[in-house]
């Protein structure tokens, strides 16, 4: 029982990191990326491969994955950043599709659809994270660090530039801000932070395959921050909590017909997304007046 809750909390922490890192570009920079699961996946594969071939230490896997994700995000996002707004979303969706194809087709590295199995238990300072409790402690610590990093980043002049770009890109450019550089950096930072979640995920589940990094996953993360509230520090974490607890809670509603239970779960979940978007689009703890920054 305790194990179940610990497991759920670990997944929530990982999702919290993921959602927080995406919120960094969506909520503070106005860059709507649907390719987040792709970077999550790249990090997870990197983490798994490092664990299998180099070292099981999180202190090695996480920085390497962060660097790889940041570099790849630069290569990939530079051309995409040339287009704006909705166009970037569509372009990022394309990247997500390509990433999935690469994950499933580049068999020699990713193991194809079969994925990579038997990722060993993570270690940190030589201490093995075999127990769920220690894994949770590390995940929570990472979540706290990432959240604090974002909290601190948006308060620097870089963060102010980001918000200036989010609110009015043309005006920001007119004030001499280097819009392309700022946005690219933001995407790189976001991808690097997202890598933390990817590595933790690979170690926790000890199995990586492409199905965990589909467009559905990207949208799920998106839903987390939209439900929780964009541009807030704790919104993404709340969103992650809800998205994980909703299906888990539904399985306890024993009066639902068991054959269709899974489908009913999905229906409730989809309907919740729709209703929230109609009636509480700023998210549960969103900014009071989102109109000015959200509308085109």
């Amino acid at each position: 029982m305790v194990g179940y809750i610990l497991n759920l909390l670990i997944l929530i922490s990982i999702s919290g990191i993921l959602a927080g890192s995406l919120n960094f570009i969506i909520g503070y920079a106005g860059i709507y990326s649907l390719a987040h699961a792709a970077f999550f996946g790249i990090a997870a594969y990197t983490g798994a491969l490092i664990a299998l071939h180099v070292s099981t230490s999180l202190l090695i896997a996480i920085p390497v994955a962060m660097a790889i994700c940041a570099i790849l995000s630069l290569v990939i996002s530079l051309p995409s950043l040339r287009v704006r707004g909705e166009y970037f979303v569509v372009a990022s969706l394309g990247l997500q599709m390509i990433a999935f194809t690469v994950f499933s087709e580049w068999t020699s590295v990713t193991g194809g659809l079969g994925g990579i199995t038997g990722v060993p238990v993570a270690t940190i300072f030589g201490f093995s994270l075999r127990s769920l409790g220690s894994m949770l402690a590390v995940s929570l610590a990472c979540l706290a660090l990432v959240t604090f990093a974002i909290f601190a980043l948006v308060r620097t002049s870089f963060g102010r530039n980001l918000r200036a770009i989010r609110d009015n890109e043309v005006a920001a450019a007119a004030f001499g801000k280097n819009v392309a550089l700022t946005k690219t950096l933001a995407v790189a930072i976001s991808s690097a932070l997202c890598a933390v979640a990817g590595v933790l995920y690979a170690f926790h589940v000890s199995f990586v395959n492409p199905e965990s990094f589909t467009i559905d996953a990207s949208v799920l993360v998106m839903a987390m921050i939209i439900i929780g509230g964009t541009g807030t520090v704790f919104g993404p974490i709340l969103g992650a909590l809800i998205i994980h607890l909703l299906p888990a809670g539904l399985t306890y509603l024993t009066f639902l017909p068991s054959r269709d239970l899974a489908s009913l779960q999905q229906i409730i979940y989809g309907a919740a997304m729709v209703l929230l978007m109609i009636y509480r689009p700023s998210g549960l703890i969103g900014r009071a007046n989102v109109k000015d920054t959200w509308s085109k």
Binding site: D260, G270, P281, K291
Partner: protein, 290 residues
């Protein structure tokens, strides 16, 4: 020989892709709604067609027409009861998208409860190929796909060039505020966009129900293809989306000519990637407006 056969197959596939993509591009271009539930329209049309034709034994043309009509109604109702309220209060592009995705999830699972998760398909001799000479084989439905696409494109061209609503829809995609400035009602226009966009996905759904079979989750792929084709063709350009769809269909088929069959899907994405890298505005796209 193989090349010609693949070309013919690719044309059939591309024709249907083109229709789906143009439908999506029409809705996206003129209303800025990222209509993820476009794929849901496809699935609804297909399943209704299956239900009417295979279970209720309606004549195929009546079943097809009723299913297509239902798709149009679905699109228009979504616009009115979901996208409009969201856009009115919030206007966020992304809020609309998430809601649309939610609808896709709901519809998919309702269909699973109603019809089960496995394939449904309509058995008809029309899907069997026959030799049209030189070892090239085509099925009647394959020819129908190409013909339907051609006819719909002619209709679409006429509609966009020669009718008030068509011209207004093009205007809407250029500048929605100015449409109001002219005294036209963008909301009414967007319903037309949804009606026509949804109608365009119907032939693909009807053909797929017979040829490839249909699953409740088929809608996702429809959206992915539509989006990829829209990017390749240039967002905002209907001609571009149509051409993009055709290119994707042809590429998917012709890829196996020299390459291993495993590449057929990836080739489409490689083309997409090349466009994103080298020409993010696509074939006919204007540079994104601010």
């Amino acid at each position: 020989m193989l090349f010609l056969q693949l070309l013919v197959d690719g044309l059939q596939l591309g024709a249907l892709y083109a229709l789906m993509a143009v439908g999506f591009a029409m809705i996206f271009g003129s209303t800025r709604v990222f209509h993820y539930a476009h794929g849901t329209t496809y699935v609804i049309v297909g399943y209704l067609f299956y239900y009417l034709a295979e279970r209720l034994h309606l004549p195929w043309w009546a079943a097809g027409a009723a299913a297509a009509a239902a798709g149009v109604v679905f699109g228009v109702l979504l616009d009115r009861w979901m996208y409009r309220p969201i856009q009115r209060d919030e206007g966020s592009f992304f809020t609309v998208f998430v809601a649309s995705f939610g609808i896709a999830v709901v519809a998919e699972n309702v269909i699973i409860i109603l019809f089960g998760a496995s394939f449904v398909s309509i058995s008809t001799p029309l899907t069997r190929v026959s030799d049209i000479g030189g070892g090239i084989v085509v099925s009647y439905l394959g020819m129908f796909s190409v013909l339907a696409a051609a006819l719909l494109f002619v209709f679409l061209n006429w509609f966009l060039d020669r009718t008030d609503v068509g011209v207004a829809l093009r205007a809407l995609s250029e500048n929605p505020d100015l449409v109001r400035g002219f005294g036209l009602n963008p909301r009414k226009l967007s319903q037309y966009a949804f009606a026509i966009g949804s109608l365009l996905v119907a032939p693909a759904a009807l053909v797929a129900t017979c040829v490839t079979g249909l699953t409740p989750t088929a809608g996702h792929r429809v959206v992915l293809i539509s989006i990829a084709a829209s990017i390749i063709g240039g967002i905002g350009s209907l001609r571009g989306a149509g051409l993009g769809g055709l290119i994707l269909g042809l590429a998917e088929s012709l890829a196996v000519w020299k390459l291993s069959t495993g590449w057929s899907e990836a080739v489409a994405f490689i083309i997409l990637f090349a466009f994103i890298l080298a020409r993010p505005s696509g074939l006919f796209g204007n540079r994104a407006r601010v």
